[in-house]
């Protein structure tokens, strides 16, 4: 198995763990943690692809830096959304917050 495939498999494990978490968690903060896991898997995959193939390594590293910046922006927004939701509903449980279908 090539080294790149090993790194990609680890990244895939991170993606799967994040996907599992986002389906299974019942609170918004738990889902946020799962999303961070998925984004990290994406970053690892991009850097591995840039460093271990003939592709542009600079582009790989800077692309991951961009993913990190987006993750930080996303976490900030999710924090404020969670604060607003918990102020309005008194809980962040997803089953009680989803009132649109009632």
């Amino acid at each position: 198995m090539s080294p790149l495939a090993l790194y990609q498999l680890v990244a895939l494990v991170l993606l799967c763990a994040g996907l599992f978490g986002i389906v299974q968690r019942r609170s918004l903060v738990g889902m946020l943690i799962a999303v961070e896991l998925m984004l990290n898997g994406a970053g690892l995959s991009i850097v591995a692809a840039g460093q271990l193939t003939k592709a542009n390594a600079i582009l790989g590293q800077l692309g991951t830096l961009l993913v990190m910046g987006l993750a930080a922006a996303e976490a900030t927004l999710v924090l404020s959304i969670v604060v607003v939701v918990s102020r309005r509903f008194g809980t962040t449980r997803t089953s009680e917050v989803s009132t649109l279908k009632e």
């Binding site: 895939l12 299974q24 961070e36 896991l37 193939t53 600079i58 590293q61 987006l70 999710v78 959304i81």
Partner: protein, 169 residues
């Protein structure tokens, strides 16, 4: 040297696996956050193995230093204490459905990785910090500026969303 790299890869993989499983199954959100931090540190080690020390540094600085603090604030501000939302054990059926949801994309992607391997080198490329900075300021200048705009907009949006006027209850 080769053996050392393999051992380090195995150790980091174990840290990542354990941390990820802990992060998604722990019943206390603070413990889930600790699992997330372990995973992030493991990924930083992977970056070191990939000969990208700058990325490892940024991983620790941005993810462990900033994003995890934000998640911790989210836990604190919503008062997700030990007997909070995640305390009750998950029903087995929900576990099975979640595993089923993961199985689809996981199987397709791992099949693709294993059957269509890209031509890969055994030693990672060396990229100096100087060339990274040059890349940031010359060919990818627009992306660099745009990400700062995105961060600014996200932060002001967050302040606006969570704003509470004084005196208004």
């Amino acid at each position: 040297m080769e053996l050392m790299a393999k051992i380090a890869f195995a150790v980091y993989t174990l840290i990542i696996l354990g941390g990820a499983v802990w992060a998604v199954t722990s019943q206390s959100l603070v413990r889930a956050l600790v699992g997330l931090i372990a995973t992030l540190l493991g990924v930083a080690g992977m970056y070191l193995l990939l000969n990208a020390p700058f990325m490892a540094f940024m991983q620790i600085l941005i993810y462990v230093g900033a994003v995890c603090i934000i998640v911790f604030f989210a836990i604190m501000l919503t008062r997700a204490h030990a007997d909070g939302e995640e305390a009750a054990p998950v029903p087995v059926r929900q576990y099975l459905w979640s595993l089923l949801a993961v199985l689809g994309p996981g199987a397709v992607l791992s099949w693709l990785i294993l059957t269509r391997p890209a031509a890969s080198m055994s030693t990672p490329v060396e990229v100096s910090l100087e060339r990274l900075g040059q890349g940031l300021l010359e060919p990818y200048f627009l992306a660099f500026e745009l990400i700062s705009v995105v961060l600014l907009v996200a932060m002001s949006g967050a302040v606006l969303l969570a704003w509470e006027r004084r005196g208004k209850k």
